[in-house]
Amino acid sequence: MSTGVRHSTTCYHCGDTCVTQVLENDKTFCCTGCRSVYNLLNQSGLCMYYDMNAHPGITRADPERQDKFAYLDNPDIVRQLVQFSDAQQTHITLYLPQIHCSSCLYLLEHLHKLQSGVVTSKINFTRKEIFIVFNHGQVSLRRVVELLTSLGYEPHISLHSKTGNRQGIARDKIYKVGVAGFCFANIMLLSFPDYFSTNSYMEENLRVLFQYLCLGLALPVLFYSATEFYVSAWGGIKNRYLNIDIPVVLAVWITFARSLYEMFWQHGPGYFDSMSGIIFFMLIGRIAQDKTHQYLSFERDYTSFFPIAVNKLFGQSFKPVPVEQVKEGDVIQLFSNELVPVDAMLSKGEASIDYSFVSGESVPVQKEVGELIYAGGKQLGGRIELLVVKPMEQSYLTNLWNKSNYTEKDTSNRFIDTLSKYFTVLILGLGLSALVYWALRGQAGTGIHALTTVLIVACPCTLLLASSFTYGNMIRILARNKLYIRHPGILEKFNTVTALVFDKTGTLTHNRDMQVSFVGPDPTPEQKRAIVSLAAQSKHPYSQAILAYWHDVAPVRLQHFKDIVGKGLEAWHEDHYIKLGSAAFFNQPGLERQSIVFAGIDNVVIGQFVLSNVYRDGFARVFRSLGQKFKQYILSGDTESEKQFLQTTLGNGVALNFNQRPDDKLAFIKGLQQGGETVMMIGDGLNDAGALKQSDIGIAVTENNNNFTPACDAILEAGTFHKLPLYFRFARYGKAVIVLSFTFSVIYNVIGLYFALQGSLSPLVAAILMPCSSISIITLTFGLSQLSAWRLKL
């Protein structure tokens, strides 16, 4: 028997590993919270909850405050939240973001068994909402909400009543498709006699009747279902821009006019079936596209999150949690230069907030305890504690991020725009020339035929969609792998990069496990406390290492904290001036051998901290595989102490530069760009914000911290740093997928046009081909990008 094996069990309720085991009924739980939920369900006979899914529960390890929902006792607030209330019952809809499986459905729809007074409850799974009817005489809203919270389903109550567009393709599109489908099918049925017409089969009156019926059925399609396209085409014309809906509208009306002509003058069959078919199939194609776009943006806004973390208060200590798990009422801790991720109230510390990300205003705003700080601001002062007022809104931050950088780096859409403009003109030209050609040959009928089918068959939508769907899906996959990209154009740029610039500290090195030693006379407890307090204000890896080294000293509050980028920290404590920083900050000559942080009080150096760097696992491998395709550079603000090590580990292919201040880094990148290189910079956002912004692609590496800077184009979680070469390969595959889709689209168009110009393509077949091509492009792009991801094990 091996002695070294540790038997870890998982909690029966939530599936987390049990560090301390709590037992009941020969089942193991990770905490008393989970066990209480189990007991509650067991007593009410709801154990089917556990039968339906393994570990369906949500962890109860984080105890809630008792009076968290006290505000629900207030009748005014209750009135705002409920949908309906009479003498006995109240109806309310609550948003429960934790709903994720059929067990949740089971439990939440059996609330009446757990709490008397609840009449019924119904779930809308897609929207993650629960609709509850309860007798407010027997149970209060607060009790209901507390019950839900104790089960692990804390409702997200927002008094600003933003129900948000969490789903729902526009209903009216569905009505239009329904009407178009109904009319189309019936017109086809009514046209059967015409399809199979031999003169003696039908009396003339009946034939006319059938034609009028077809005309009647065609009108709703023309005037209701097709309004989508009219609106879009008109919008295009008003802006002097030929968009892709104009040929469609033309085709529809030409067919209609022709059918009328045939019906009234030639007494022939109309083409109402083709016309309504065109609209029906096009609408289907549109809905497929819209659903895909919606899926991608939903994923982006609600599912794949910024891989950044904040320190949250658990009981007495702070632990990092992913920022999307932060809820209202939590207490979070922010260090200097960190972004405020959610709307919160200042509860401890001095806050000096830079709102340039949100409002463009770069003059920092001083905040007092009790004041509200909005999400998106950056803390320039020292360490503060905040009470969360609103939970994280991913979409808000993403929007800010996109808005802030829009003008500078986006070129991708321009190609598509010009392409679609010329495409439409080309198609119109082709159609008209076909008409003229056939008219001159005396077959005007064929000519009109050719014109309409050319207008329908030519589909630039595949060209437009291929790019957005492929990159949209790829971004989704990358976000699952903890690389969060600002927008698709960035991913496209990956393929143009020629030079890679890496920051050293925090990017290539760990923030944990650093070896520290103090060189100098033994400091007094007072001095220790001062230094530790200063170090505690910042998330810089060296500060954190010092904090861990002297962890037995409790930090105190300091005044006038300042973080001088690239140099160090300073603050005042009881009339003493405290400094921590690099050699340059202290005007000392730099020592060549190690990373050193000087500590000084009242302008006297009291000692130095000698720090060793711990590099990330596999970082040499990353450099080796990337070195085959890119020029690589390392810029470090540190001394040349690591030069030997890096040179031997990485070989001579990587250029090393030390003692780089932020300005030096920026200048270096500019220099590379002037030399014709496309530069990707990978840094930790702490003191290379300028360089990140200047580079063509700037990636910020985060590790349990929140050094998010709006200057970056992508955020990478440190744990997946070693996947960098894979990401480049993925981007290359993406390009191949797009090229493939383009080729497919071109071939389709060429073949379609070949038949259309000859007039041998029926408009109905052309109409069917349209959504087929849209759907095939969707399948192609998604399928191939998923395939590439699978191949790369992403």
Binding site: I123, T126, R171, G178, V179, F182, L213
Partner: protein, 51 residues
């Protein structure tokens, strides 16, 4: 053969009925949640009355 007019009217009325039902369904939100109804029928205990 003229009876076909009557047949036409009837069939169009029936079809229109279906269209109406479709629009009614969509308005009522029947298709919004495709997950819950499927799972709801699998729940074991049936028709327990609330206390």
């Amino acid at each position: 053969m003229n009876v076909i007019i009557l047949l036409l009217i009837c069939s169009l009325l029936v079809a229109a009925g279906f269209l109406f039902a479709f629009i009614w369904n969509v308005r009522d939100g029947q298709y919004e949640d495709s997950f819950s109804p499927a799972n709801r029928i699998l729940f074991d205990d049936t028709l327990d009355e609330p206390k």
